[in-house]
Protein backbone atom coordinates (compact mmCIF):
# COMPACT_ATOMS: atom_id res chain seq x y z
CA UNK A 1 0.00 0.00 0.00
CA UNK A 2 1.41 3.27 -0.96
CA UNK A 3 0.23 6.34 0.79
CA UNK A 4 -1.79 8.57 -1.39
CA UNK A 5 0.45 11.21 -2.78
CA UNK A 6 -0.88 14.65 -3.10
CA UNK A 7 0.56 16.22 -6.16
CA UNK A 8 -0.15 19.53 -7.73
CA UNK A 9 -2.29 17.73 -10.29
CA UNK A 10 -4.38 16.21 -7.56
CA UNK A 11 -5.75 19.64 -6.88
CA UNK A 12 -7.45 21.01 -9.94
CA UNK A 13 -6.94 24.74 -10.13
CA UNK A 14 -9.88 26.46 -8.57
CA UNK A 15 -11.89 28.06 -11.31
CA UNK A 16 -11.78 31.80 -11.03
CA UNK A 17 -15.00 32.75 -9.31
CA UNK A 18 -17.10 34.64 -11.82
CA UNK A 19 -17.57 38.18 -10.60
CA UNK A 20 -21.30 38.28 -10.36
CA UNK A 21 -22.80 41.62 -9.67
CA UNK A 22 -24.86 42.01 -6.55
CA UNK A 23 -28.05 42.50 -8.55
CA UNK A 24 -27.75 39.36 -10.65
CA UNK A 25 -26.88 37.34 -7.55
CA UNK A 26 -30.00 38.73 -5.96
CA UNK A 27 -32.26 38.07 -8.92
CA UNK A 28 -30.94 34.55 -9.39
CA UNK A 29 -32.70 33.35 -6.25
CA UNK A 30 -35.94 31.65 -7.35
CA UNK A 31 -38.01 33.26 -4.60
CA UNK A 32 -36.70 36.68 -5.57
CA UNK A 33 -37.24 36.07 -9.29
CA UNK A 34 -40.82 35.03 -8.62
CA UNK A 35 -41.49 37.97 -6.31
CA UNK A 36 -40.04 40.45 -8.75
CA UNK A 37 -42.08 38.88 -11.54
CA UNK A 38 -45.28 39.30 -9.51
CA UNK A 39 -44.38 42.91 -8.76
CA UNK A 40 -43.62 43.57 -12.42
CA UNK A 41 -46.89 42.02 -13.61
CA UNK A 42 -48.80 44.10 -11.08
CA UNK A 43 -46.93 47.21 -12.16
CA UNK A 44 -47.83 46.51 -15.78
CA UNK A 45 -51.48 46.00 -14.80
CA UNK A 46 -51.44 49.26 -12.89
CA UNK A 47 -49.83 51.29 -15.67
CA UNK A 48 -51.83 49.82 -18.55
CA UNK A 49 -55.15 49.34 -16.72
CA UNK A 50 -57.18 51.33 -19.30
CA UNK A 51 -55.82 49.12 -22.09
CA UNK A 52 -56.58 45.91 -20.26
CA UNK A 53 -60.09 46.55 -19.02
CA UNK A 54 -62.67 49.29 -19.17
CA UNK A 55 -63.11 51.22 -15.97
CA UNK A 56 -66.02 49.49 -14.22
CA UNK A 57 -69.03 51.80 -14.08
CA UNK A 58 -72.78 51.65 -14.29
CA UNK A 59 -74.75 48.45 -14.22
CA UNK A 60 -74.36 45.41 -16.44
CA UNK A 61 -76.75 42.74 -17.51
CA UNK A 62 -74.82 39.77 -16.13
CA UNK A 63 -75.38 39.99 -12.39
CA UNK A 64 -73.46 37.81 -9.97
CA UNK A 65 -71.96 35.57 -12.64
CA UNK A 66 -69.31 33.11 -11.49
CA UNK A 67 -65.94 33.22 -13.28
CA UNK A 68 -66.29 32.38 -16.98
CA UNK A 69 -64.67 33.08 -20.34
CA UNK A 70 -66.48 36.39 -20.63
CA UNK A 71 -65.87 37.46 -17.04
CA UNK A 72 -62.66 35.88 -15.83
CA UNK A 73 -63.22 36.79 -12.20
CA UNK A 74 -67.04 36.80 -12.43
CA UNK A 75 -69.32 39.78 -11.84
CA UNK A 76 -70.80 41.53 -8.82
CA UNK A 77 -74.38 42.36 -7.87
CA UNK A 78 -74.39 45.32 -10.28
CA UNK A 79 -73.12 43.21 -13.13
CA UNK A 80 -69.71 44.89 -13.09
CA UNK A 81 -66.69 42.84 -14.09
CA UNK A 82 -64.57 41.86 -11.06
CA UNK A 83 -61.47 41.40 -13.23
CA UNK A 84 -61.75 45.03 -14.34
CA UNK A 85 -62.22 46.10 -10.73
CA UNK A 86 -59.14 44.17 -9.59
CA UNK A 87 -57.05 45.58 -12.44
CA UNK A 88 -58.11 49.14 -11.72
CA UNK A 89 -57.71 48.45 -8.00
CA UNK A 90 -54.11 47.46 -8.64
CA UNK A 91 -53.53 51.00 -9.80
CA UNK A 92 -54.84 52.59 -6.60
CA UNK A 93 -53.19 50.07 -4.32
CA UNK A 94 -49.78 50.40 -5.95
CA UNK A 95 -49.92 54.19 -6.18
CA UNK A 96 -50.90 54.57 -2.55
CA UNK A 97 -48.50 51.84 -1.45
CA UNK A 98 -45.53 53.38 -3.23
CA UNK A 99 -46.33 57.02 -2.52
CA UNK A 100 -47.07 56.41 1.15
CA UNK A 101 -43.96 54.31 1.42
CA UNK A 102 -41.81 57.01 -0.19
CA UNK A 103 -43.28 59.60 2.14
CA UNK A 104 -42.52 57.37 5.12
CA UNK A 105 -38.99 56.70 3.85
CA UNK A 106 -38.20 60.37 3.35
CA UNK A 107 -39.56 61.34 6.76
CA UNK A 108 -38.14 58.31 8.52
CA UNK A 109 -34.70 58.59 6.95
CA UNK A 110 -34.43 62.30 7.67
CA UNK A 111 -35.48 61.86 11.28
CA UNK A 112 -33.45 58.67 11.76
CA UNK A 113 -30.25 60.18 10.36
CA UNK A 114 -30.67 63.42 12.27
CA UNK A 115 -31.21 61.45 15.47
CA UNK A 116 -28.17 59.28 14.78
CA UNK A 117 -25.79 62.17 14.21
CA UNK A 118 -27.12 65.16 16.16
CA UNK A 119 -27.11 63.91 19.72
CA UNK A 120 -29.35 66.58 21.29
CA UNK A 121 -32.04 65.85 18.70
CA UNK A 122 -31.84 62.14 19.40
CA UNK A 123 -33.63 62.26 22.74
CA UNK A 124 -36.57 64.17 21.27
CA UNK A 125 -36.73 62.06 18.11
CA UNK A 126 -36.59 58.80 20.03
CA UNK A 127 -39.42 59.79 22.32
CA UNK A 128 -41.59 60.88 19.39
CA UNK A 129 -40.77 57.70 17.48
CA UNK A 130 -41.56 55.51 20.47
CA UNK A 131 -44.85 57.29 21.08
CA UNK A 132 -45.78 56.93 17.41
CA UNK A 133 -44.90 53.24 17.50
CA UNK A 134 -46.97 52.71 20.63
CA UNK A 135 -50.02 54.44 19.19
CA UNK A 136 -52.77 52.15 17.91
CA UNK A 137 -52.45 53.27 14.31
CA UNK A 138 -55.57 51.74 12.78
CA UNK A 139 -58.11 53.56 15.01
CA UNK A 140 -56.15 56.78 14.55
CA UNK A 141 -56.06 56.35 10.78
CA UNK A 142 -59.80 55.65 10.83
CA UNK A 143 -60.36 58.79 12.87
CA UNK A 144 -58.23 60.93 10.57
CA UNK A 145 -59.65 59.45 7.39
CA UNK A 146 -63.15 60.08 8.71
CA UNK A 147 -62.36 63.73 9.43
CA UNK A 148 -60.73 64.63 6.12
CA UNK A 149 -62.53 63.88 2.88
CA UNK A 150 -61.14 60.57 1.64
CA UNK A 151 -59.15 60.69 -1.58
CA UNK A 152 -56.04 58.98 -2.92
CA UNK A 153 -53.93 61.95 -1.78
CA UNK A 154 -55.25 62.13 1.77
CA UNK A 155 -55.02 58.34 2.16
CA UNK A 156 -51.41 58.46 1.01
CA UNK A 157 -50.59 61.23 3.46
CA UNK A 158 -52.31 59.51 6.37
CA UNK A 159 -50.76 56.10 5.72
CA UNK A 160 -47.32 57.59 5.04
CA UNK A 161 -47.44 59.68 8.16
CA UNK A 162 -48.15 56.67 10.34
CA UNK A 163 -45.49 54.50 8.70
CA UNK A 164 -42.36 56.62 9.19
CA UNK A 165 -41.52 55.70 12.81
CA UNK A 166 -40.44 52.16 11.96
CA UNK A 167 -38.24 53.47 9.17
CA UNK A 168 -36.79 56.10 11.49
CA UNK A 169 -35.95 53.49 14.09
CA UNK A 170 -34.28 51.23 11.55
CA UNK A 171 -32.25 54.03 9.98
CA UNK A 172 -31.30 55.48 13.35
CA UNK A 173 -29.93 52.20 14.65
CA UNK A 174 -27.76 51.73 11.58
CA UNK A 175 -26.85 55.44 11.55
CA UNK A 176 -25.65 55.24 15.16
CA UNK A 177 -23.20 52.51 14.21
CA UNK A 178 -21.89 54.55 11.30
CA UNK A 179 -21.75 57.77 13.35
CA UNK A 180 -19.35 56.09 15.73
CA UNK A 181 -16.97 55.04 12.94
CA UNK A 182 -13.61 56.76 12.94
CA UNK A 183 -14.15 57.91 9.37
CA UNK A 184 -16.85 60.22 10.62
CA UNK A 185 -14.26 61.78 12.95
CA UNK A 186 -11.95 61.82 9.95
CA UNK A 187 -14.47 63.81 7.96
CA UNK A 188 -14.90 66.23 10.83
CA UNK A 189 -11.17 66.73 11.14
CA UNK A 190 -11.16 67.58 7.45
CA UNK A 191 -13.73 70.24 8.21
CA UNK A 192 -16.87 68.62 6.83
CA UNK A 193 -20.10 70.28 7.95
CA UNK A 194 -22.74 68.34 9.84
CA UNK A 195 -25.03 68.41 6.81
CA UNK A 196 -22.27 67.05 4.62
CA UNK A 197 -21.41 64.26 7.02
CA UNK A 198 -25.01 63.16 7.28
CA UNK A 199 -25.70 63.30 3.54
CA UNK A 200 -22.36 62.17 2.15
CA UNK A 201 -20.91 59.86 4.78
CA UNK A 202 -23.79 58.33 6.71
CA UNK A 203 -26.57 58.30 4.11
CA UNK A 204 -24.69 56.09 1.59
CA UNK A 205 -24.19 53.52 4.32
CA UNK A 206 -27.92 53.21 4.96
CA UNK A 207 -29.11 53.24 1.33
CA UNK A 208 -29.54 49.49 1.11
CA UNK A 209 -31.55 49.59 4.31
CA UNK A 210 -33.74 52.20 2.65
CA UNK A 211 -34.37 49.91 -0.33
CA UNK A 212 -35.53 47.20 2.04
CA UNK A 213 -37.66 49.70 3.92
CA UNK A 214 -39.37 50.93 0.76
CA UNK A 215 -40.51 47.40 -0.06
CA UNK A 216 -41.56 46.45 3.47
CA UNK A 217 -43.28 49.77 4.13
CA UNK A 218 -45.06 49.60 0.78
CA UNK A 219 -46.52 46.22 1.61
CA UNK A 220 -47.74 47.52 4.95
CA UNK A 221 -49.19 50.56 3.23
CA UNK A 222 -51.08 48.34 0.78
CA UNK A 223 -52.65 46.50 3.70
CA UNK A 224 -53.54 49.77 5.42
CA UNK A 225 -55.11 51.11 2.25
CA UNK A 226 -57.15 47.94 1.74
CA UNK A 227 -58.22 48.04 5.38
CA UNK A 228 -59.29 51.66 5.27
CA UNK A 229 -61.12 51.15 1.97
CA UNK A 230 -62.88 48.11 3.35
CA UNK A 231 -64.04 50.26 6.26
CA UNK A 232 -65.52 52.67 3.77
CA UNK A 233 -62.82 55.27 4.24
CA UNK A 234 -61.26 54.85 0.81
CA UNK A 235 -61.44 57.17 -2.16
CA UNK A 236 -65.00 56.76 -3.51
CA UNK A 237 -63.80 57.75 -7.00
CA UNK A 238 -61.02 55.23 -7.28
CA UNK A 239 -61.31 51.45 -7.45
CA UNK A 240 -59.30 49.64 -4.87
CA UNK A 241 -59.10 46.07 -3.64
CA UNK A 242 -60.50 47.09 -0.31
CA UNK A 243 -63.47 48.71 -2.03
CA UNK A 244 -64.33 45.50 -3.91
CA UNK A 245 -64.42 43.69 -0.59
CA UNK A 246 -66.49 46.48 0.90
CA UNK A 247 -69.00 46.21 -1.97
CA UNK A 248 -69.26 42.47 -1.41
CA UNK A 249 -69.90 43.02 2.25
CA UNK A 250 -72.38 45.85 1.71
CA UNK A 251 -74.43 44.05 -0.91
CA UNK A 252 -74.59 40.94 1.18
CA UNK A 253 -73.08 38.85 -1.60
CA UNK A 254 -70.01 38.06 0.50
CA UNK A 255 -71.49 34.67 1.43
CA UNK A 256 -72.72 33.60 -1.98
CA UNK A 257 -70.31 35.13 -4.54
CA UNK A 258 -66.95 33.71 -3.43
CA UNK A 259 -65.27 35.18 -6.52
CA UNK A 260 -66.02 38.70 -5.40
CA UNK A 261 -63.84 38.32 -2.29
CA UNK A 262 -61.32 35.72 -3.42
CA UNK A 263 -59.69 37.61 -6.28
CA UNK A 264 -59.09 40.98 -4.59
CA UNK A 265 -57.86 39.12 -1.50
CA UNK A 266 -55.46 37.09 -3.63
CA UNK A 267 -54.24 40.30 -5.23
CA UNK A 268 -53.51 41.81 -1.80
CA UNK A 269 -51.85 38.59 -0.68
CA UNK A 270 -49.61 38.32 -3.74
CA UNK A 271 -48.55 41.96 -3.72
CA UNK A 272 -47.76 41.99 -0.01
CA UNK A 273 -46.03 38.63 -0.12
CA UNK A 274 -43.95 39.55 -3.16
CA UNK A 275 -42.90 42.93 -1.76
CA UNK A 276 -42.05 41.45 1.64
CA UNK A 277 -40.06 38.55 0.22
CA UNK A 278 -38.20 40.77 -2.21
CA UNK A 279 -37.40 43.14 0.66
CA UNK A 280 -36.21 40.57 3.17
CA UNK A 281 -34.19 38.69 0.55
CA UNK A 282 -32.56 41.95 -0.51
CA UNK A 283 -31.56 42.49 3.09
CA UNK A 284 -30.16 38.96 3.38
CA UNK A 285 -28.26 39.18 0.11
CA UNK A 286 -26.57 42.46 0.89
CA UNK A 287 -25.58 41.30 4.38
CA UNK A 288 -21.99 40.04 4.05
CA UNK A 289 -22.39 37.88 7.14
CA UNK A 290 -24.90 35.77 5.25
CA UNK A 291 -23.16 35.32 1.96
CA UNK A 292 -19.58 34.98 3.14
CA UNK A 293 -18.44 38.45 2.23
Amino acid sequence: MSAPVLTEQALPPAPAAPRRSFLSGYLRQPVVALSVLVLLVMAVLAVFAPLIADEPAGAGADVLQPPSGAHWFGTDDLGQDIFAQVVWGTRTSMVIGLAASLLAIVLGTAIGLAAAYFRPFDAVATVITDVMLALPTLPLMIMLAAVVSPSVTTLTLIIGFFAWPEVARLIRSQGLVISAMPYIDGARVLGATGWRIVTREILPAVVSLMVVSVLLTASRAVISEAGLSFLGLGDPDAWSWGRILLNAQRSGTIAIAWWQTLFPSLAILFLVLAATLAGTRFNDTRDPRRNGG
Binding site: P120, G186, R188, L190, G191, A192
Partner: protein
Protein backbone atom coordinates in the same frame (compact mmCIF):
# COMPACT_ATOMS: atom_id res chain seq x y z
CA UNK B 1 4.60 82.77 18.40
CA UNK B 2 4.35 79.04 18.60
CA UNK B 3 2.49 77.02 16.04
CA UNK B 4 0.40 75.33 18.69
CA UNK B 5 0.20 76.29 22.31
CA UNK B 6 -1.97 74.35 24.70
CA UNK B 7 -2.45 75.78 28.16
CA UNK B 8 -4.15 74.08 31.09
CA UNK B 9 -6.31 71.92 28.86
CA UNK B 10 -8.95 69.97 30.75
CA UNK B 11 -11.37 67.47 29.27
CA UNK B 12 -14.08 65.72 31.26
CA UNK B 13 -16.73 63.23 30.24
CA UNK B 14 -19.84 62.58 32.28
CA UNK B 15 -19.66 59.22 34.00
CA UNK B 16 -22.08 57.19 36.09
CA UNK B 17 -20.43 58.37 39.32
CA UNK B 18 -19.56 61.90 38.32
CA UNK B 19 -17.27 63.44 35.72
CA UNK B 20 -14.41 61.37 34.36
CA UNK B 21 -11.43 63.65 34.03
CA UNK B 22 -9.57 62.36 31.02
CA UNK B 23 -7.24 65.34 30.74
CA UNK B 24 -6.32 67.36 33.83
CA UNK B 25 -4.49 70.51 32.87
CA UNK B 26 -2.13 69.77 30.02
CA UNK B 27 0.15 72.49 28.72
CA UNK B 28 2.47 72.07 25.79
CA UNK B 29 3.83 73.81 22.76
CA UNK B 30 4.87 72.83 19.24
CA UNK B 31 6.88 74.92 16.81
CA UNK B 32 6.64 74.67 13.03
CA UNK B 33 8.83 71.94 11.62
CA UNK B 34 9.05 70.26 14.97
CA UNK B 35 7.86 66.89 16.17
CA UNK B 36 6.43 66.55 19.62
CA UNK B 37 5.62 63.06 20.79
CA UNK B 38 3.06 62.54 23.50
CA UNK B 39 3.99 59.30 25.17
CA UNK B 40 1.72 57.39 27.48
CA UNK B 41 -0.10 54.16 28.02
CA UNK B 42 -3.75 53.47 27.20
CA UNK B 43 -6.05 55.73 29.15
CA UNK B 44 -3.42 58.35 29.91
CA UNK B 45 -5.38 61.00 28.04
CA UNK B 46 -3.02 61.39 25.11
CA UNK B 47 -5.61 60.69 22.42
CA UNK B 48 -8.22 62.85 24.11
CA UNK B 49 -5.71 65.70 24.16
CA UNK B 50 -5.26 65.32 20.41
CA UNK B 51 -8.99 65.12 19.82
CA UNK B 52 -9.52 68.31 21.80
CA UNK B 53 -7.04 70.06 19.52
CA UNK B 54 -8.76 68.83 16.36
CA UNK B 55 -12.14 69.90 17.67
CA UNK B 56 -13.85 66.55 17.27
CA UNK B 57 -14.67 66.66 20.97
CA UNK B 58 -16.70 69.80 20.46
CA UNK B 59 -19.93 67.91 20.70
CA UNK B 60 -21.41 67.16 24.10
CA UNK B 61 -20.99 65.24 26.35
CA UNK B 62 -17.29 66.19 26.63
CA UNK B 63 -16.53 69.42 28.42
CA UNK B 64 -13.32 71.06 27.30
CA UNK B 65 -11.68 73.98 29.12
CA UNK B 66 -8.34 75.74 29.01
CA UNK B 67 -6.77 77.17 25.93
CA UNK B 68 -5.63 75.80 22.57
CA UNK B 69 -3.99 78.41 20.38
CA UNK B 70 -2.95 77.85 16.81
CA UNK B 71 -0.61 80.63 15.71
CA UNK B 72 -1.97 82.74 18.52
CA UNK B 73 -5.60 82.16 17.62
CA UNK B 74 -7.75 80.59 20.29
CA UNK B 75 -9.50 77.50 18.90
CA UNK B 76 -11.70 76.47 21.81
CA UNK B 77 -13.90 79.57 21.60
CA UNK B 78 -14.36 79.49 17.83
CA UNK B 79 -17.86 79.00 16.51
CA UNK B 80 -18.68 75.79 14.73
CA UNK B 81 -18.46 77.47 11.35
CA UNK B 82 -15.07 79.05 12.04
CA UNK B 83 -13.86 75.79 13.48
CA UNK B 84 -14.79 73.89 10.34
CA UNK B 85 -12.63 76.30 8.38
CA UNK B 86 -9.62 75.59 10.61
CA UNK B 87 -10.13 71.83 10.40
CA UNK B 88 -8.24 70.19 7.59
CA UNK B 89 -6.99 73.52 6.34
CA UNK B 90 -4.72 74.15 9.33
CA UNK B 91 -4.89 70.92 11.28
CA UNK B 92 -4.76 67.50 9.66
CA UNK B 93 -5.10 64.19 11.39
CA UNK B 94 -3.88 60.66 10.77
CA UNK B 95 -5.87 58.07 12.65
CA UNK B 96 -4.73 54.79 14.11
CA UNK B 97 -6.90 52.45 12.10
CA UNK B 98 -7.01 53.55 8.48
CA UNK B 99 -9.50 50.82 7.60
CA UNK B 100 -12.04 52.42 9.90
CA UNK B 101 -10.98 56.00 9.22
CA UNK B 102 -11.66 55.81 5.50
CA UNK B 103 -15.20 55.55 4.26
CA UNK B 104 -15.61 51.96 3.02
CA UNK B 105 -18.27 52.80 0.44
CA UNK B 106 -16.22 55.27 -1.62
CA UNK B 107 -13.05 54.81 -3.64
CA UNK B 108 -9.97 56.42 -2.15
CA UNK B 109 -9.72 58.66 -5.20
CA UNK B 110 -13.25 59.90 -4.65
CA UNK B 111 -12.54 60.65 -1.00
CA UNK B 112 -9.47 62.77 -1.74
CA UNK B 113 -11.10 64.46 -4.73
CA UNK B 114 -14.15 65.36 -2.67
CA UNK B 115 -12.05 67.06 0.01
CA UNK B 116 -10.21 69.12 -2.61
CA UNK B 117 -13.39 70.06 -4.45
CA UNK B 118 -15.36 71.03 -1.37
CA UNK B 119 -12.59 72.79 0.50
CA UNK B 120 -10.52 74.18 -2.34
CA UNK B 121 -13.28 74.62 -4.89
CA UNK B 122 -11.18 72.80 -7.45
CA UNK B 123 -12.69 71.51 -10.67
CA UNK B 124 -13.10 67.76 -10.94
CA UNK B 125 -10.15 67.46 -13.32
CA UNK B 126 -7.83 69.60 -11.21
CA UNK B 127 -8.82 67.80 -8.05
CA UNK B 128 -8.14 64.47 -9.75
CA UNK B 129 -4.70 65.56 -10.86
CA UNK B 130 -3.87 66.84 -7.40
CA UNK B 131 -5.21 63.66 -5.78
CA UNK B 132 -3.00 61.51 -7.99
CA UNK B 133 -0.03 63.70 -7.00
CA UNK B 134 -0.87 63.22 -3.33
CA UNK B 135 -1.25 59.46 -3.62
CA UNK B 136 2.01 59.38 -5.54
CA UNK B 137 3.58 61.58 -2.86
CA UNK B 138 2.87 58.95 -0.22
CA UNK B 139 4.63 56.43 -2.51
CA UNK B 140 1.78 54.29 -3.66
CA UNK B 141 2.87 52.54 -6.82
CA UNK B 142 0.68 53.11 -9.89
CA UNK B 143 -1.10 55.91 -8.08
CA UNK B 144 -3.29 56.74 -11.04
CA UNK B 145 -4.68 53.23 -11.34
CA UNK B 146 -5.28 52.83 -7.65
CA UNK B 147 -7.53 55.85 -7.38
CA UNK B 148 -10.47 53.67 -8.35
CA UNK B 149 -9.83 51.16 -5.58
CA UNK B 150 -11.76 50.97 -2.34
CA UNK B 151 -10.04 51.13 1.05
CA UNK B 152 -10.37 47.39 1.62
CA UNK B 153 -8.39 46.69 -1.54
CA UNK B 154 -5.25 48.16 -0.01
CA UNK B 155 -2.86 46.55 2.44
CA UNK B 156 -2.65 47.99 5.94
CA UNK B 157 0.45 50.04 5.23
CA UNK B 158 -0.93 51.32 1.93
CA UNK B 159 -4.15 52.34 3.64
CA UNK B 160 -2.24 54.28 6.23
CA UNK B 161 -0.42 56.07 3.39
CA UNK B 162 -3.77 56.95 1.81
CA UNK B 163 -4.83 58.28 5.20
CA UNK B 164 -1.71 60.45 5.25
CA UNK B 165 -2.41 61.66 1.71
CA UNK B 166 -5.89 62.66 2.80
CA UNK B 167 -4.59 64.40 5.92
CA UNK B 168 -2.07 66.49 3.97
CA UNK B 169 -4.44 67.19 1.06
CA UNK B 170 -5.22 70.65 2.39
CA UNK B 171 -1.60 71.33 3.40
CA UNK B 172 -2.21 71.78 7.12
CA UNK B 173 0.31 73.59 9.34
CA UNK B 174 -0.11 71.01 12.04
CA UNK B 175 -0.45 67.30 11.55
CA UNK B 176 -1.70 65.17 14.40
CA UNK B 177 -0.91 61.49 14.14
CA UNK B 178 -2.73 59.36 16.70
CA UNK B 179 -0.78 56.11 16.98
CA UNK B 180 -0.34 56.02 13.20
CA UNK B 181 1.65 52.80 13.20
CA UNK B 182 0.07 50.76 15.98
CA UNK B 183 -2.06 48.69 13.62
CA UNK B 184 0.84 47.91 11.29
CA UNK B 185 3.55 45.31 11.42
CA UNK B 186 7.03 46.36 12.34
CA UNK B 187 8.67 46.68 8.93
CA UNK B 188 5.75 48.68 7.60
CA UNK B 189 5.74 50.81 10.75
CA UNK B 190 9.23 52.01 9.97
CA UNK B 191 8.29 52.90 6.38
CA UNK B 192 5.22 54.83 7.42
CA UNK B 193 7.09 56.74 10.13
CA UNK B 194 9.83 57.53 7.67
CA UNK B 195 7.26 58.84 5.21
CA UNK B 196 5.63 61.00 7.88
CA UNK B 197 8.98 62.40 8.94
CA UNK B 198 9.92 63.11 5.34
CA UNK B 199 6.67 64.88 4.54
CA UNK B 200 7.07 66.92 7.68
CA UNK B 201 10.62 67.93 6.73
CA UNK B 202 9.52 68.96 3.24
CA UNK B 203 6.44 70.89 4.26
CA UNK B 204 7.76 72.37 7.50
CA UNK B 205 4.58 71.57 9.36
CA UNK B 206 4.46 70.73 13.02
CA UNK B 207 3.82 67.13 13.94
CA UNK B 208 2.05 66.05 17.08
CA UNK B 209 2.67 62.35 17.44
CA UNK B 210 0.59 60.35 19.87
CA UNK B 211 2.19 57.05 20.65
CA UNK B 212 3.05 54.48 23.25
CA UNK B 213 5.95 53.19 21.22
CA UNK B 214 9.27 54.31 22.65
CA UNK B 215 11.09 53.17 19.54
CA UNK B 216 9.03 55.48 17.35
CA UNK B 217 9.61 58.34 19.75
CA UNK B 218 13.36 57.85 19.75
CA UNK B 219 13.43 57.78 15.98
CA UNK B 220 11.39 60.77 14.91
CA UNK B 221 10.57 63.05 17.83
CA UNK B 222 12.36 66.25 18.78
CA UNK B 223 10.53 66.73 22.05
CA UNK B 224 8.67 64.35 24.27
CA UNK B 225 5.83 64.87 26.70
CA UNK B 226 5.06 61.90 28.90
CA UNK B 227 1.46 61.67 30.05
CA UNK B 228 0.05 59.83 33.00
CA UNK B 229 -3.54 59.97 34.30
CA UNK B 230 -4.39 62.99 32.21
CA UNK B 231 -1.34 65.00 33.20
CA UNK B 232 2.04 65.64 31.70
CA UNK B 233 4.49 64.14 34.16
CA UNK B 234 7.66 64.87 32.26
CA UNK B 235 8.67 67.03 29.35
CA UNK B 236 12.01 67.44 27.58
CA UNK B 237 13.94 66.82 24.42
CA UNK B 238 14.16 63.27 23.22
CA UNK B 239 17.89 63.15 24.15
CA UNK B 240 17.20 64.37 27.67
CA UNK B 241 14.41 61.91 28.28
CA UNK B 242 16.24 58.89 26.92
CA UNK B 243 19.58 59.76 28.51
CA UNK B 244 18.15 60.36 31.94
CA UNK B 245 14.47 60.53 32.78
CA UNK B 246 13.44 62.81 35.64
CA UNK B 247 10.24 61.03 36.57
CA UNK B 248 9.91 57.51 37.95
CA UNK B 249 7.14 56.75 35.44
CA UNK B 250 9.37 57.59 32.48
CA UNK B 251 12.11 55.61 34.16
CA UNK B 252 9.76 52.65 34.40
CA UNK B 253 8.74 53.00 30.76
CA UNK B 254 12.34 53.05 29.60
CA UNK B 255 13.22 50.09 31.78
CA UNK B 256 10.35 48.08 30.37
CA UNK B 257 11.77 48.42 26.87
CA UNK B 258 13.78 45.41 25.72
CA UNK B 259 17.36 46.43 25.00
CA UNK B 260 20.03 44.65 23.05
CA UNK B 261 22.85 46.11 25.14
CA UNK B 262 21.63 44.49 28.33
CA UNK B 263 21.23 40.83 29.13
CA UNK B 264 18.21 40.79 31.39
CA UNK B 265 16.62 37.56 32.41
CA UNK B 266 13.24 39.20 32.74
CA UNK B 267 11.76 42.29 31.20
CA UNK B 268 10.85 44.95 33.73
CA UNK B 269 7.18 45.84 34.06
CA UNK B 270 5.71 48.74 36.02
CA UNK B 271 3.60 47.08 38.73
CA UNK B 272 -0.12 47.75 38.94
CA UNK B 273 -2.40 49.44 36.45
CA UNK B 274 -3.14 53.07 35.59
CA UNK B 275 -5.68 54.64 37.95
CA UNK B 276 -9.33 54.99 37.06
CA UNK B 277 -9.75 58.56 35.77
CA UNK B 278 -13.08 58.76 37.58
CA UNK B 279 -11.37 58.11 40.94
CA UNK B 280 -7.86 59.49 40.89
CA UNK B 281 -5.91 58.82 44.09
CA UNK B 282 -4.94 61.72 46.35
CA UNK B 283 -1.48 63.15 45.92
CA UNK B 284 0.63 62.03 42.98
CA UNK B 285 -1.48 59.82 40.68
CA UNK B 286 1.52 57.54 40.20
CA UNK B 287 2.37 56.95 43.88
CA UNK B 288 0.59 53.59 44.06
CA UNK B 289 2.93 52.15 41.43
CA UNK B 290 6.02 54.18 42.23
CA UNK B 291 9.06 52.54 43.83
CA UNK B 292 10.20 55.93 45.12
CA UNK B 293 6.91 57.01 46.70
CA UNK B 294 7.09 58.68 50.10
CA UNK B 295 4.44 60.05 52.45
CA UNK B 296 4.61 63.37 50.68
CA UNK B 297 3.64 61.69 47.39
CA UNK B 298 0.53 60.22 48.96
CA UNK B 299 -0.78 63.66 49.96
CA UNK B 300 0.64 66.39 47.76
CA UNK B 301 0.08 66.49 44.00
CA UNK B 302 3.46 67.40 42.50
CA UNK B 303 3.25 70.29 40.01
CA UNK B 304 5.09 70.15 36.69
CA UNK B 305 8.27 71.94 37.74
CA UNK B 306 10.68 73.50 35.30
CA UNK B 307 14.14 71.99 35.59
CA UNK B 308 17.38 73.30 34.16
CA UNK B 309 17.95 72.86 30.40
CA UNK B 310 14.33 73.58 29.50
CA UNK B 311 12.83 70.40 30.75
CA UNK B 312 10.18 69.71 33.34
CA UNK B 313 9.11 66.99 35.71
CA UNK B 314 6.15 66.49 37.99
CA UNK B 315 7.86 64.48 40.72
CA UNK B 316 8.72 65.44 44.28
CA UNK B 317 11.87 63.39 43.95
CA UNK B 318 12.98 64.40 40.48
CA UNK B 319 16.54 65.12 41.62
CA UNK B 320 16.81 61.69 43.12
CA UNK B 321 15.47 60.13 39.92
CA UNK B 322 17.82 62.19 37.78
CA UNK B 323 20.81 61.18 39.88
CA UNK B 324 19.85 57.55 39.62
CA UNK B 325 19.15 57.53 35.91
CA UNK B 326 21.90 59.77 34.60
CA UNK B 327 24.76 57.42 34.10
Amino acid sequence: MSLLEIADLKVAFPGPTGPVNAVNGVSLRIESGQTLAILGESGSGKSVTAQAVTGILDVPPATVSGSVQLRGRELLTLSRKQRERVSGEEIGMVFQDAMAALNPVFTVGHQIVEVLRVRRGMSRADARRRAVELVDRVRIPAAKDRMRDYPHQFSGGMRQRIMIALAIALEPDLLIADEPTTALDVTVQAQVMELLAEIQRDSGMGLLLITHDLGVVAEVADDVAVMYAGRIVERGTVEQIFAGPAHPYTEGLLNSMPRVDRRDEQLYAIPGAPPNPARLPAGCPFHLRCPRATDECRVVLPPLLALPADRASACHHHEEVLDATRR
